[in-house]
Amino acid sequence: MSDTQNQNNQVVTSETENNETRFLRFKLSYRIEHWIFITSFSILAVTGLVQKFSGAGISEFIVQALGGIENTRLVHHYAATITMFVALYHVGALFYRLYVLGYRWSMLPWIDDVKAAIGWLRYNFGLRKSPPQEGRYTFGEKFEYWAVVWGTMVMAITGYMMWNPISTTRMLPGEFIPAAKAAHGWEAILAVLAIIIWHFYNVFIRFFNKSMYIGYIDEEEMLEDHPLELADIKAGLASIQLDPKEKARRKRIFWPVYIVIAAIMLAGIYFFISYEETAIATVPPAEDVEVFVPLTPTPLPTPLPTPTPLPTAEDITWESSIAPLFEQKCATCHNSDNGMGGLDLSSYESALAGGNSGPGIVPGDPEASQIIIVQAAGGHPGQVTDDELEAITCWIAEGAPEQ
């Protein structure tokens, strides 16, 4: 095993076993970063796309499996927060490598990459005999890297707008919110399609690239995809020593600057996720109205006026008041034809005689008169009113005069 530093000052470890040399492509820190990013990206994709395609049955299933839409959104927000931390780390690690360790900006796209892209296309279509020669990062890898950078920025900005719509609309027109939602959703589809078509083809199908698992790729793969980098390593151009004093000086500058930047970014993340209480937690009742408010007064049949005004106690007689009252209230049943209960109230004599229960009227003694006893109990089919009952009682007490 030999540890060297190549022309780009990037650490290249190669080991040879059974005459096969393999080359370290991604150190452990790169791989850990990538796996965290894979996890947060996948969670974001699943929990986001189910919201974009809310009508689909599978979306319904996933959302319920995640414990409902509010939970799904919470998971989406957690994954977004992780992604922001990945970005925070990535910016720091990148500038540490570029500035402190002096790595070359090998990820920067250049005109050579356009040439390489056209070259590959011509080669694939048989218009060119040999494939283009590329270095540490191929045009395809650069395309993907910058697509991720672009996509993450779009998602972060539009995500912020949706996460904090009220503070956004303090500065921007309201229309930016649905515009952000549209961009967020479509960008997600673009990102997922790019991962499936481009990344999955290149790392799984083209040949199975194990560098993100074990860190190494073999010489044959190096020769096919990164021949210029391989040539540098083989030519021994890879080993340039970095002056330890210079490295220490750069570190002294890097760390304070990064700590400040990281603190600002951390504050930004905190602001991003906790700034706004967008809405109240429970919707107020849609309507504030008294439910049961009956119309008053409840319409009931109006009692008919008593046909003859009630005379005063002294001049109540059978003929003047009692007979007409009995005719109206009682005669239906207690008449001379059927005389229910043996009672006939159609004449003075028969009323005095009473029916099966006893004398109807006992002059001078209302309490012994069946008419008073029955009516006072209430509930009689031909019930007289309280006033009428009082009048009858008076009349009997006065001796029940006929005339």
Binding site: I280, P284, C333
Partner: protein, 370 residues
């Protein structure tokens, strides 16, 4: 052979059971015979046709026991020739059995059980309704059959349609006042327009439901609105967009509700149609009193988003589908991606497929070489 016979018997049994369902389904066909001895309506009317007859109940309330014969004859039951004693089953002789009810309301509720004898299905539906549940909890004011239909003067149901809100008004006068001035109420009560919904179209007829009976009533109410508002033929008559439901569902609020309405008892802080448009008093969007009128929208938003400012309401697309004139920023972003995504996908596929084929051809050549 034995199996065949078993199948035949089983099939016949099924037919009989199915037949029973058909028969019981026809509620009005099931007229129980009058109790024996048969008592003719005329026997009852001999006494009960006399005006202004009343009994005083133990509570001191007056029970009017006069029945207008001609009014009963004009009712659906009178026209059908039904006998008094088919409802008043406790009346078998004279003098009548003493009343058990001590109050007027108790008498009504007791008598109401009679309806179940013929209208079992509808009667049972009322038991689960908001009224049935209230009655169960001891609220005797809750409406029973006769409160809406009348007792002796039951008329044909829903005729005329304009009568329906007035029936509900008798107990829900405050809600009626709001409905009366809603876009629906004005059309029904004012113009007699049969297309608009009245109380029972949203709340149901016998199984009357509302937010207090059904946990999902609020959450699933957009589907109620969509029944009419997504109906192109009906909305076409009035030039109203049928996109309202789809645009709501594709918005943040609607998407949430769509997922949440599947879960019984789910609580939400997202609005449904009525939360913005009004429950009983929804108005035309160009009505100055409409809660979703542009000038009033901020106030409506602030019900849930107290910090919302003047820019905020236009973050809701207002049921519009964005185009060059309405919400152009949304339209152009969508257009951008509708071009970029296919271009990117096709571009990537050209690389990927050509690479795949080239590698396949080279691989085959190498194998042939070996």
């Amino acid at each position: 052979m034995k199996l065949k016979r078993t199948i035949t018997i089983f099939g016949l049994l099924l037919l009989v059971i199915a037949g029973m369902f058909v028969v019981t389904g026809e509620v009005s066909a099931q007229i129980p015979p009058p109790p024996s001895p048969g008592i003719d309506n005329q026997d009852c009317l001999t006494c009960h046709d006399i005006p202004d007859q009343r009994m005083t109940l133990p509570s001191g309330e007056i029970l009017f026991i006069t029945v207008k014969g001609d009014s009963y004859d004009a009712s659906v039951h009178g026209m059908g020739g039904y006998a008094c004693v088919q409802c008043h089953t406790d009346i078998t002789e004279y003098p009548h059995r003493e009343l058990e009810a001590t109050t007027l309301r108790e008498f009504t509720i007791t008598m109401n059980q009679s309806c179940a004898r013929c209208h079992k299905e509808k009667f049972d539906a009322t038991l689960d309704s908001v009224h049935g549940q209230a009655l169960d909890k001891g609220n005797v004011e809750a409406a029973v059959c006769t409160d809406c239909h009348g007792a002796h003067n039951v008329g044909p149901a829903n005729e005329p349609r304009t009568r329906i809100p007035h029936t509900c008004e008798r107990c829900h006068s405050e809600i009626y006042k709001r409905y009366e001035h809603s876009v629906h109420g004005e059309a029904l009560i004012g113009e007699g327009n049969p297309d608009v919904p009245t109380c029972i179209d949203c709340h149901g007829v016998h199984n009357v439901s509302g937010p207090s009976t059904s946990e999902s009533f609020h959450l699933s109410s957009p589907l109620l609105c969509a029944e009419c508002h997504a109906d192109e033929e009906l909305m076409g008559k009035y030039g109203i967009s049928t996109d309202v439901f789809d645009t709501y569902i594709s918005d943040f609020h609607g998407t949430t509700i769509l997922f949440e309405s599947e879960i019984p008892g789910q609580e939400t802080n997202k609005p449904v149609c009525i939360d913005c448009h009004g429950v009983h008093d929804m108005r035309m969007v160009n009505d100055p009193e409409s809660s979703v009128m542009k000038e009033n929208l901020l106030t409506t938003c602030q019900k849930c988003h107290p910090d919302a400012n003047a820019n905020f309401p236009s973050s809701w697309l207002g049921h519009y589908i964005p185009d060059r004139n309405v919400y152009p920023a949304v339209f152009y972003i969508e257009t951008f991606y509708k071009i970029v995504i296919p271009v990117m996908v096709v571009g990537m596929l050209i690389f990927v497929i050509s690479d795949f084929i080239r590698r396949y051809i080279i691989g085959r050549k190498e194998r042939q070489h070996v």
